[in-house]
Subunit: 423 residues, 2 copies
């Protein structure tokens, strides 16, 4: 089965808003075995939308499904209804039940009724309304030739809910020819090319599972797409690949699907009933922010200190002034002292520290932008890592990567790995 996605809105064609609906729909349809091979974004232009609907549904191999998002609201530039009627070659007519429902929606909320709202009760002859539980604009289901056309609102929350309620069951009932299952493994500790090399034989074309890598701020994601006749078969194919990659990459793999470095660290801390505190210079609160992104983080996160000034490092962490004088605030020695001092004062099992030069200015030949030290202290020792992240990176990238390196130091320790250079 094939689908075409049409996103309608001048804010999209003008580049003011990035369309996320099409990617979301494509992924959902993909897991149902429907390939969304063509996405088209059009301005609020009745003729252009009608033309696209017409040409898509009459081609030599028309898609079984077209999903249109946007252009269903009450204003003059919402023209999806009209375009659909043009493409079907039928007039619009008012659906009295929908009109009544709209009127009640406004009365109940005490909103003033404006006549333009009545436009939302117009439907092409022969098309059916789809109820919108979250907003006023109903959707439309219509048939052109052999293609079923679903028109959904552009508001993501409304669109997603209506997709689940109206589109998904109908596609499932039609019984797709293939099921696609998607999974992800996330890795930290090696570059994308090194990881791709280690799984190169799985990444060749023509296998039943398509394997690809993407990199985002030093986290490498390995994406698996399995296509099979049914769910169980697709799951079996993909599970075999997941197990193989986990074996090959070992501790480089930190999680699957939606897991993040911080969610994995949080899970391990909870399981082991351990606590952590943070002392940050260059990451400036980001490390604490990422750890407290996790609901219930008060169970394992005791406190975070953003010691940006030297005085704060001395006052709050007990870093000795002569250490800063001798080695500079950006040094392995100071990172270590920050972590040790933080742990002692917080009374936590672990402490993580960061100090570095996030840029864009403040670097020198000896200590360039992108130099970051991270440290992990525990009762019987402290481990420090020196990162040279490269001055071509943005301030935000350097901070994100510094925080990830610190989280990974803790992850490896909680997993019982000894941390060696390059790990």
């Amino acid at each position: 089965m094939k689908a075409e996605l049409i996103s309608v809105g001048t804010e999209l064609t003008a580049g003011i808003t990035v369309d996320t609906n099409a990617a979301w729909l494509a992924e959902r349809l993909g897991t149902l075995g429907v390939a969304a091979v063509r996405h088209v974004t059009l301005a609020d232009d009745r003729q252009a939308v009608a033309e696209e609907l017409r040409s898509a549904s009459v081609g030599s191999s028309p898609p079984e499904v077209i999903v249109v998002t946007g252009g269903l609201g009450p204003t003059d530039d919402d023209l999806t209804r009209e375009a659909l009627a043009d493409a079907m070659g039928v007039p619009l007519r008012t659906e009295p039940a929908v009109l009544e429902h709209l009127g009640e929606f406004f009365r109940r909320r005490g909103y003033p009724w404006s006549e333009s709202n009545a436009r939302q009760a117009l439907f092409p002859e022969g098309a059916a309304p789809l109820e919108n539980a979250w907003g006023t604009a109903p959707g439309i289901r219509a048939v052109i030739g052999d293609t079923v056309v679903y028109c959904l609102p552009g508001v993501p929350r409304e669109m997603r809910e209506m997709f689940a309620r109206f589109v998904l069951p109908e596609i499932e009932a039609r019984g797709a020819a293939a099921v696609i299952v998607a999974r992800t493994l996330s890795c930290y500790g090696a570059g994308e090319s090194s990881i791709a090399e280690q799984i190169a034989d799985l990444m060749v074309a023509g296998r039943a599972v398509t394997v690809g890598t993407t990199a985002n701020e030093s986290v490498i994601s390995i994406r698996f797409l399995a296509r099979a006749a049914n769910r169980a078969e697709a799951d079996a194919l993909i599970d075999r690949d997941l197990a193989e990659v986990r074996t090959r990459l070992g501790k480089l793999v930190f999680g699957a699907d939606d897991e993040t470095l911080e969610s994995v660290v949080a899970k391990l801390l909870r399981q082991q009933r351990r606590t952590v505190s943070t002392a940050e210079s260059c990451t400036g609160g980001l490390l604490a922010k990422r750890l407290t992104d996790i609901p219930g983080s008060s169970e394992f996160f005791l406190r975070g200190l953003v010691t940006y000034s030297n005085q704060a490092k001395i006052d709050l962490l007990g870093v000795e002034p002569r250490l800063i004088e001798q080695h500079g605030a950006v040094s392995g020695e100071v990172a270590e002292a920050m972590a040790i001092g933080c742990r002692q004062r917080a009374g936590s099992d672990f402490a993580l520290a960061s100090t570095g030069i996030a840029g864009p200015t403040g670097g020198s030949l000896e200590k360039p932008v992108g130099l970051v030290y991270v440290a992990r202290a525990e009762a019987d020792g402290c481990e420090v890592r020196r990162l040279t992240l490269g001055g071509h990176l943005s301030r935000d990238s350097i901070r994100q990567r510094g925080a990830s390196a610190a989280l990974n130091l803790l992850r490896l320790r909680l997993l019982g790995y000894s941390v060696t250079p390059g790990s």
Copy 2:
């Protein structure tokens, strides 16, 4: 002038990657007076890409420009070259100069040469290569009928650089019929509908400046698009609207274009040579993170304390235990004590504090998820605000909005406004 954008890649049609190139190109073209009225995303499918190029360039009113991104790499599924040749009805031939350049690129870097790289030196007869300064895949410039087709790599950095070097000058030289200038004002302190009401007369259709609003985590952006015959005229139109909206909305407007609450607060702190420190409970480091996102923040940011546990609030901020017992950690009294204690110990001019329930659990009837107190202390007093953000919001939204409320408290103070409820 009109343009069509074609994005090529199965990772895009499958929804694995969200295409940001089209929106970027649409906005750039828009400022040159070129309306990108149609964006099409296609899988790595030679026939589909060729068909789209053909039908787009032979229609009744073909676009003057087509920009294709993606599908120019060395692998078997990179088929933009072939599709373009099909659409032009010409064969591919090797460009010797490009082949030589590619070989040298690999030799210089010590990369192993693979024969598939030679595909990148293939061009449709009559088409011209466009040099790629950042990667190996050259672009292509071709003409079909009255349409100029530019094929650029899908890697955003390479695409943007080549757009600036090859596409932009040619469009400017052709002299667009109109220039579009885009500007944004950002507001905090009122809802989108309330702001839209105050500028409703500017938001009607048919004006020379198109005005629209969007909301993101309680920051309301007002977008202005002016179309005129030349830059000076467009600037004059838009400046008049900007001034009018600033007058009407007053202190609700905190910045323009790329400015954020934190960048505006940073600018004001620097101008006034004042310093700030932070004491965070529910925002968990986010407030410190946002302030230290600003390069050079060590000038005004002294320290940040993430006091997640009650003990940390007592130890690090001097909050009295009986205050927590009496009012609870989430209370105006504790927010105030946190801010005052933080400021005194840090020796900063101001301190900002937050305490609240970010959820998704931990709420009660009396103190529901979304209840957040923020406070701003200075030498002669402390101001506290109570926010009820609503339990329907995500943890991340509640934390972002809490941090923004604290930043806005400081912004208004630095501007000399007295802070009153609802401001």
